[in-house]
Every structure is written in structure tokens, then in C-alpha cells.
């Protein structure tokens, strides 16, 4: 159940990010200067933490999405869903931990 809850929450967070992302990227059509000045306002630790959260949400959502596909289309999927969930958790840690260390050290040292 908690994998499902986390999947939903990460999905909503990614949707909200995409909304802002489409708006700020569209700014480049309005004026490249305006785009650049908006990009500069993003260079602070608060947005840095937000980016970390975004990568966490995308990583979990992608890996758990593969698990859901396996549950739907692989005949042995439902039987192995718990092992696949732990595989998702391990894959998440492997992908996210190095990113978080590197990203946060850059965010807080510059």
C-alpha cells in the first residue's frame, strides 16, 4: 500500500513541477533576458533542496512504475511484488544517494 501512496504523491509533485517548468521554459520565447534572470533566481539553497526532492520523486516514480508494469503484464508479477518493491528501494538508494551527495555539496558550497 505504501508504495502506491508514494507513487501517487511523487506523481502529483512531478506534475506540479512540470507545470512550473513549462511556464519558465516558455519564457525563453518571451525574452531570453527574462529567462536568464528567472534562472538566476533559482540559484539558491531552497531551490537546490527542491531539485533534490524532484530527483527523488522522479527516480522513485520511474522505478516503481517499472514494478507496476511487471505486476500488470508479467504473470508472476503479483507473486513477486514484495521482492520487486525492495528492488525498487535498493535501486532508488543506489541512484539517489550519489546524486544527493554531489548535488547538495555543490548547492551548499557555491
Amino acid at each position: 500500500m505504501w508504495s502506491w501512496v508514494a507513487h501517487r504523491i511523487s506523481g502529483v509533485l512531478i506534475f506540479l513541477f512540470l507545470f512550473a517548468h513549462v511556464l519558465d521554459t516558455a519564457l525563453v520565447r518571451v525574452s531570453p533576458d527574462a529567462y536568464n534572470s528567472i534562472m538566476d533566481t533559482y540559484k539558491n539553497p531552497v531551490v537546490g533542496l527542491g531539485e533534490t526532492g524532484l530527483v527523488a520523486a522522479v527516480t522513485f516514480h520511474a522505478l516503481n512504475g517499472l514494478r507496476v508494469v511487471a505486476v500488470d503484464f508479467w504473470s508472476k508479477g503479483p507473486r513477486h511484488q514484495r521482492q520487486m518493491f525492495w528492488a525498487v528501494v535498493i535501486g532508488f538508494v543506489v541512484l539517489f544517494a550519489p546524486f544527493a551527495i554531489r548535488h547538495l555539496s555543490i548547492v551548499f558550497s557555491h
Binding site: 500500500m1 502506491w4 507496476v68 505486476v71 500488470d72 503484464f73 504473470s75 508479477g77 503479483p78 507473486r79 511484488q81
Partner: protein, 252 residues
């Protein structure tokens, strides 16, 4: 005197130790209460006692107004599904010592169905969904003069879903059902699965048509709560996925 008696019972080989436990039961009397509330009961139970035995003790010795369903009391009739410490279980199959008796044990009615009194809920929406999937043998053509024979492998195909006792533990553990009472629910799909994959049955196309509904199998979000809740160990989500795949591939 009392001490000697106690010594005797303790010394007796094979004697079952007793302990005190608190049950926090959700009570609701529609004639008096505006909303359900919790009440605590302290009982002394044996290590071999089930939650149902503790409920009996409360009803028989402390508060006769406590209402709950139970019939066979041995995990076969499916009457006493309830939410014990936040999980749907049969009170007659759950030992008190297994549900963390150090803390108060919460006992609530199963969720998603209207509460009638205390732990009794209105099962009608649940049974209606079961009726809707036609849980009976549908055949075409002439009646055979002898039994309808079936190979061992064909019988194995739906063996898991024949174990259902209609206790509603699965359907009322489903977050989709909590939010959308129109959803057929895991149990109805298990009931349909039992006939869809039965080689003697000819009604599979009809049942699949019924479950191909907006409120049918596609509502399932593979949360696996139903599989975890089933007191009979049925792989409920697996059965639902098999019905979904039967709809996609038309193979059943």
C-alpha cells in the same frame, strides 16, 4: 488458600499461562450515539485465546450490549472479519498474543461499509457486487447425462479462488473501495475468476463484459491490501490481474 490454588495451576504440566490485555473497541449505537467512539475493556486471557474469545468474555461477563457477528468461530463461515490493530482479520483466527497485547488492541468494524451497530456493518453492497458477477455455473447446450468431467490441470487453474469465504476482509481493505463504493471490489472479482477460468463454465464472456466496466477490474490500482488481508491466503491481486489480462488477450 488462594496461593496454593495458583501454585497448583502453575505447576500443572501443559498449563496455559494467562495475561491481562486491554481491548479498545469502537462502539456505536445508532439509537443513542451521534458518532462512533472507543471504549476500553480489560480482560484476562489465555495464551491460546483468540480475539474472538476476548470479545466473548466482554460480551458475556462485562457488557452484554457489545454487538458483533460470528457463527462458526473457526475461520470457515467468514462472519467475524474486523479491523484489529488497523488490519482486517478474522477475530476467530487471530491469537491475542500475536497482536502486540502489551498495548491496547484496537478493534474496529471493517471500513467502507455502513456501520449498523458496534462491529456490525451492512454487508448488502458487498453481496450485491458478488451477485452482479453471476457466481454460479452458466452452461449452454444439452445437459450431459453424467458428471461434467474436468482434468486435474483445469481444476488447478482456478483452485485458489475457490477458497473464498465471503468475509469481506479484502474488499474493505481496498483504498479504492473506501473512496468509491460503486467499485465491484476484490471479492466480486475473485468470485468471477472462480468461474471465468473454470473449463466447465460457458459464461466467461458475459462475466468479463460485466467486469470491463468503469467500476470493474480497471479500478484496481494493485495496492495489494486485499492479498495481505485475505484470511484464506488467496492471491487476490493475482486473480484480478488474470481477469484484466483475460480482457486484454481474450484468452481464458
Amino acid at each position: 488458600m488462594t496461593a496454593t490454588v495458583e501454585e497448583n495451576t502453575e505447576a500443572k504440566p501443559g498449563a496455559v499461562p494467562t495475561f491481562e490485555v486491554t481491548l479498545r473497541i469502537e462502539r456505536y449505537n445508532p439509537e443513542v450515539d451521534d458518532a462512533p467512539h472507543f471504549e476500553d475493556y480489560r480482560v484476562t486471557v489465555h495464551g491460546t485465546d483468540r480475539v474472538l474469545d476476548a470479545l466473548h468474555q466482554i460480551k458475556w461477563d462485562q457488557d452484554g450490549s457489545l454487538s458483533f457477528r460470528r457463527s462458526c468461530a473457526h475461520g470457515v463461515c467468514g462472519s467475524d472479519a474486523m479491523r484489529i490493530n488497523g488490519k482486517n482479520r478474522l477475530a476467530c483466527k487471530t491469537l491475542v498474543k500475536d497482536v502486540n497485547p502489551g498495548k491496547p488492541i484496537t478493534v474496529e468494524p471493517i471500513k467502507g461499509l455502513p456501520v449498523e451497530k458496534d462491529l456490525i456493518v451492512d454487508m448488502e453492497p458487498f453481496f450485491q457486487a458478488y451477485r452482479d458477477v453471476m457466481p454460479f455455473l452458466v452452461t449452454t447446450g444439452n445437459e450431459p447425462t453424467r458428471e461434467r468431467l474436468q482434468s486435474q490441470e483445469d481444476r488447478e487453474r482456478f483452485d485458489d479462488t475457490t477458497k473464498c469465504i465471503l468475509c469481506a476482509a479484502c474488499t474493505t481493505s481496498c483504498p479504492v473501495f473506501w473512496n468509491d463504493g460503486q467499485y465491484f471490489g476484490p471479492q466480486a472479482i475473485v468470485g468471477a475468476h472462480r468461474f471465468i477460468f473454470d473449463s466447465r463454465d460457458d459464461g466467461a464472456a458475459q462475466r468479463l463484459e460485466i467486469l470491463n466496466d468503469k467500476e470493474g477490474v480497471w479500478r484496481c490500482r494493485t495496492t495489494f491490501n486485499c492479498t495481505d488481508a485475505c484470511p484464506r491466503g488467496i492471491q487476490v491481486t493475482k486473480a484480478i490481474q488474470e481477469v484484466k489480462r483475460a480482457l486484454l488477450t481474450n484468452k481464458f
